[in-house]
Amino acid sequence: MSDQLPPIVVDARHLLPPEPMERTLEALDELKPGQAVLLMIPRQPAPLFDMLRNNGYTYTVESQPDGMFHIHIRHEAD
């Protein structure tokens, strides 16, 4: 189920705070059951992590060789 829908990609590699968070929150509003948001960002977005934990989302962080971070976000229920 979790791999059926492609993730909603938020490319925030060239965006200034808080635009990455604004766009991620918009993407989360459109999230369908089983789907994930993939956020590509040059830092670990601590304020977003706080907000995700408090609103029933889980996330994993993958650091990339180019210094970027890929953050995979899902509903806790998925």
Binding site: H14, L16, P18, M21, P47
Partner: protein, 413 residues
């Protein structure tokens, strides 16, 4: 890049009370330049020059830097101050009143004003310093910013201790021999406290808000310690050249920051980028001019120009650039979980007025440096200083106004 934690951040009005007070000191400096600026350009030791310097350092800079620490310590270093709301009120009031009294003491040579400044500024540091040090020693964090903040706070303590001692000497309470602490006081205040704290904040905000690569690990690991050692060398070795290592280390910070900015990933630049760029250029120029100044080559104008470039061109520029990012950001973060449809951060400021502030500030630094060789330039400098204070204060109030309006929409009174 080190992790931040905004869950422990104090409510925004804790740092904001300091940030919103700071522009008032720019207005006071503008009025003083118009009223008595000619005297300030005669020598750095004139009452007016000392008053102007301390309006910038003990007034504008100290307000913003104390406010920034209330925010930065829990967010960047995991160091939670005990009862930040309760602590902020007396620290803010005592530091602001103490700075005004100190300036009054310098300008009018009033003994009771010096004594009042000693009590107020001393009390604010005696309240803040132990609370901050306890928080910093308790945190399990080991970031470069944490080490830098510890060193900056120690430098603040000793800078104020030296300053208080000299104020008592000026008030006639202790021997004037103590005025020899001045070079150490300047090095601790500008290099150890100001420079290291800017670096501690810069390690976080430059990559974050200007999309640059992180500061090199070797640099972030060693900069604050190198500044501390260089200040120690300058204080202990009785020769003007002993201050050269400190000047070199500060210049290295400016050069590394310029290098980071050159490697930014985003072509589009904003006012914060311009303010930081100007600050680093002025810091490099101040370091270059500090060499003839420390050997007393070139007359009285050179040390005054160094002070203008370092304080107004360096610190005030960096602080203005950071305030334009940090104030909207902390209010935006505060509103986000509380208000539906938070206004975009970019709309909380009026970019056109911010750009006008940037232009006025560049002109201000330019005419102040010119005034060191042609004093009538103090008049346009005074007008520009007042304009900068009004523009900065006006924009910060505008951001606060947007946030209050958004909160009122969900909490109708």
């Amino acid at each position: 890049m080190q992790a931040l934690s905004f869950e422990q951040a104090p409510p925004p009005f804790v740092p904001l009370r300091f940030f919103l007070t700071a522009p008032v000191f720019l207005l006071m400096a503008g009025v003083l330049l118009l009223a008595d600026g000619q005297v300030a350009m005669a020598s750095r030791w004139t009452p007016t020059a000392l008053a102007l310097t301390h309006l910038m350092t003990a007034g504008f800079m100290l307000q913003v830097m104390l406010g920034a620490l209330f925010q930065l310590m829990p967010v960047a270093a995991g160091a939670n101050l005990w009862r930040p709301r309760l602590l902020a009120m007396p620290v803010h009031l005592l530091s602001a009143v103490g700075a005004v009294l100190l300036v009054l003491g310098f300008h009018h040579q009033i003994a009771w004003a010096y004594q009042g400044a000693v009590v107020a500024l001393g009390a604010s540091v005696l309240l803040f310093f132990p609370a901050a040090m306890i928080a910093l020693w308790r945190t399990p964090g080991r970031s470069h910013s944490l080490v830098a903040i510890r060193i900056a706070l120690l430098a603040l303590f000793f800078a104020v201790l030296a300053g208080v001692t000299m104020a008592l000497a000026r008030a006639g309470i202790i021997d004037t021999w103590w005025l020899r602490l001045s070079p150490g006081h300047v090095a601790l205040g500008l290099g150890g406290w100001g420079g290291v704290l800017v670096a501690a904040a810069g390690y976080l905000v430059v990559p974050m808000f200007q999309l640059t690569p992180a500061y090199p690990v070797w640099f972030a690991r060693s900069f604050a310690g190198a500044v501390a050692v260089a200040i120690g060398v300058g204080v202990v070795v009785p020769h003007a050249a002993a201050w050269l290592p400190l000047v070199g280390v500060i210049a290295l910070f400016a050069a590394v920051t310029v290098d980071r900015q050159q490697r930014r990933r985003r072509a589009k630049v904003d006012a914060t980028y311009h303010f930081w760029r100007l600050a680093m250029g002025c810091t490099l120029a101040a370091c270059a001019l500090a060499v003839p100044a420390m050997f007393q080559w070139g007359g009285n104008a050179v040390p005054i120009a160094v002070g203008i470039l370092a304080i107004l061109g360096g610190f005030v520029s960096v602080i203005a650039g950071m305030l334009y990012k940090i104030v909207p950001f902390i209010l935006w973060l505060y509103l986000q979980p509380r208000v539906k449809g938070v206004p975009p951060m970019t709309r909380m400021l009026n970019e056109r007025w911010v750009t006008w502030h940037w232009r006025c500030h560049v002109a201000l630094v330019g005419v102040c440096v010119l005034a060191t060789v042609w004093w009538p330039m103090v008049y346009p400098a005074g007008v520009l200083m007042i304009a900068c204070g009004l523009l900065l204060g006006g924009q910060l109030l505008r951001v606060v106004g947007h946030a209050r309006a958004a909160l009122r929409r969900v909490q109708p009174s």
